[in-house]
């Protein structure tokens, strides 16, 4: 074996040979699609160009067309509202459930955690199918329960024919599916807080709320930021649930940006506009993420 500073060529190129398959995969299945998306978004690329090729470049025409379309702004506002509502509910309920879990007895905690893992393990499409059945107008158990509670207006109520109702069912579905991750992650963080911290807070005469604000929150802050940003990403780009339940309907009431981009491309064969909408979706998601994180950061500064 040579002992001098420059090892043989075989040793030097070994790492590059080892990462070569990854690089090839990423180049063809990630970078190329990203580049292709950007290119299509500055072309005139409709059904004819899809079949025959030879799409002409049109500059930023597609972006101009989208940005001057009021529908795009309605969809963007709806997407931001959808993301904010879901993220608030998920992190809020997740925190409450996590705080509840640490206070429970061992057996009850195990039972609740098992149920949360069960929800976590439920495939998106299975959950989507079940929720459609729960909220079915005839024989759906939700309508039956609401009717029993005296809300007779819900007898045979068609949830998926009304805009607000469909939106609510989708929020419930996404929140139901996402709370377990938030709760279990935050619970994991809570268990790492040493008992002495609570002990000394109690000795100092801190109230429950003060203990939560001054002991629990600071320790959990990095996890809060992580969970919140993940939930922002996940709910913003949520596609499967919406597409399967409503395809963005009724009357476009549940059309968020990812659904909008896909609709334009798939149903109208306007691949150019769809690609431009996808690009804008990613940019808006990044902006939303930065805003959320900065707001959390500022709150941190205010409380410190």
């Amino acid at each position: 074996m040579p002992t001098d500073a420059s090892p043989p060529l075989r040793t030097r190129i070994r790492p590059y040979l080892l990462i070569a398959p990854t690089l090839v995969g990423a180049a063809y299945l990630l970078l190329y699609p990203v580049a292709r998306n950007l290119v299509i978004s500055v072309q005139h690329f409709r059904l004819a160009e899809l079949i025959r090729g030879g799409a002409p470049f049109v500059g930023f025409d597609n972006y101009t067309e989208l940005l001057s379309d009021p529908k795009f702004w309605t969809v963007t506002a709806r997407t931001l509202g959808w993301t904010a509502l879901n993220t608030l509910l998920i992190t809020g309920l997740g925190t409450l459930v996590a705080l509840m879990l640490v206070r429970l007895g061992r057996r009850m905690r195990l039972a609740v955690m098992s149920a949360l893992v069960l929800v976590w393990a439920t495939p998106v499409i299975a959950a989507t199918t079940v929720f459609q059945w729960l909220f079915q107008s005839r024989f759906g158990v939700v309508n039956w329960a609401l009717d029993q509670l005296g809300l007779h207006g819900y007898h045979d109520y068609a949830w998926f024919a009304h805009s607000g109702a469909t939106f609510s069912v989708l929020v419930l579905l996404v929140v139901w599916q996402s709370v377990p991750f938030a709760a279990l992650t935050l619970y994991g963080g809570l268990t790492t807080i040493p008992g002495e911290l609570y002990e000394s807070a109690r000795i100092d005469g801190a109230s429950a709320w003060q203990t939560f604000r001054l002991v629990t929150v600071p320790v959990l802050r990095p996890l809060f930021a992580l969970v919140t940003s993940l939930e922002v990403i996940w709910t913003f780009k949520c596609f499967a649930q919406i597409w399967v339940v409503s395809q963005g309907g009724p009357n476009g009431a549940t059309t968020t940006l990812p659904v909008y981009a896909f609709q334009i491309a798939q149903n109208l064969h306007k691949y150019d506009l769809g690609s431009a909408a996808s690009t804008l979706t990613v940019l808006i998601l990044l902006a939303a993420l930065v805003t959320t994180l900065r707001r959390m950061h500022r709150q941190e500064g205010a409380e410190a």
Binding site: P21, T22, R103, L104, G105, M108, S275, S278
Partner: protein, 298 residues
């Protein structure tokens, strides 16, 4: 409803379990346990309802007052689901695509993880940055270019395209996780084997790979779940050839398949969920114990 034997926080307040049913302590903890019960029921009910509906006779499913217990269980709906046209084929497709993607991603990721975890080379940090960025790639935004690329290369309606996409979606996560597992196995073990006359590859195969097995298993199972559940790409890339569809897409179109036969739909959904549930249970028991055992040995 279980009764708490002790409080978890603070531990010093542990008391012997009281005998009478309504001690002040239990009364004080009643709201907490009721809230826990509410969470438990809210979480579990949809899954419970899926399974119960799958086992109930149609007459009980379509009754004005729902039956909350399967008093007359039947396998009729499972039979309907299994005998639905193409059922076996969709299972085969889902399994092929998922296993293909997971195996491919495992092999490719293992090579990359070794390069990142065990070797020093120029560009290592840049490569890691690429992997972390790829992990956050907005895949949903790539549906349209993927469709166009698949069409251009005659890969539309083909399971291999879907396998490749799932390979790439699971690859970054697999590299990151395997790198973590690899870091837990001391490099000194490999070096010792090399001193004893093993080649670098031999040392890795004989020493590190066996210790890495639980990590490989856990990682591949997570990849399995991701690929098994994927809907958006399967729905976009497989359009004309209905026989090439995977289970999630088939299940999402249940209205065309089963009409309003909710028993059969819920039976199909339960069957689809079963492998994922088994993987979760397996991950909880076997892999975690394997991982700690590996850590102690290392």
């Amino acid at each position: 409803m279980s009764l708490p034997a002790s409080r978890s926080l603070p531990a010093s307040r542990r008391l012997p379990a009281p005998r009478s049913l309504l001690t002040p302590r239990r009364l004080r903890r009643l709201p907490l346990n009721l809230a826990a019960l509410a969470v438990l029921v809210t979480a579990a009910f949809p899954v419970y309802w899926m399974v119960v509906t799958a086992f109930k006779p149609t007459a009980e499913i379509q009754s004005a007052t729902p039956a909350f217990l399967p008093l007359h269980p039947t396998l009729e709906h499972f039979s309907t689901a299994i005998h639905a046209p193409g059922f076996g084929g969709y299972w085969r497709n889902s399994l092929l695509v998922t296993l293909g993607a997971v195996l491919l991603s495992l092999v490719v990721a293992l090579l990359a993880a070794y390069a990142v975890g065990r070797l020093r080379w120029r560009g290592r940090r840049a490569f890691l940055l690429l992997v972390f960025t790829a992990q956050m790639a907005p895949w949903e935004a790539l549906l349209i270019p993927m469709y166009v690329i698949a069409r251009d290369t005659d890969m539309l309606d083909s399971l291999s395209m879907l396998t490749l996409v799932y390979f790439m979606t699971t690859l970054p996560f697999t590299i990151v996780t395997l790198r973590g597992f690899l870091a837990a196995v001391p490099a000194e073990l490999e070096e010792a084997a090399q001193v004893d006359g093993c080649t670098r590859a031999g040392a890795f195969r004989r020493i590190t790979l066996p210790l890495l097995a639980p990590g490989l298993l856990a990682t591949s199972l997570f990849g399995f779940i991701t690929a098994w559940n994927e809907f958006a790409f399967a729905n976009t890339l497989i359009i004309k050839n209905q026989d090439a569809r995977t289970l999630p897409v088939w299940l999402s179109s249940f209205a065309n398949v089963f009409g309003t036969d909710w028993g059969a739909t819920m039976a199909a959904a339960s069957l689809f969920m079963l492998p994922v549930l088994l993987v979760f249970l397996f991950l909880q028991n076997k892999v975690t114990t394997g991982m700690t055992a590996g850590a102690v040995k290392g």
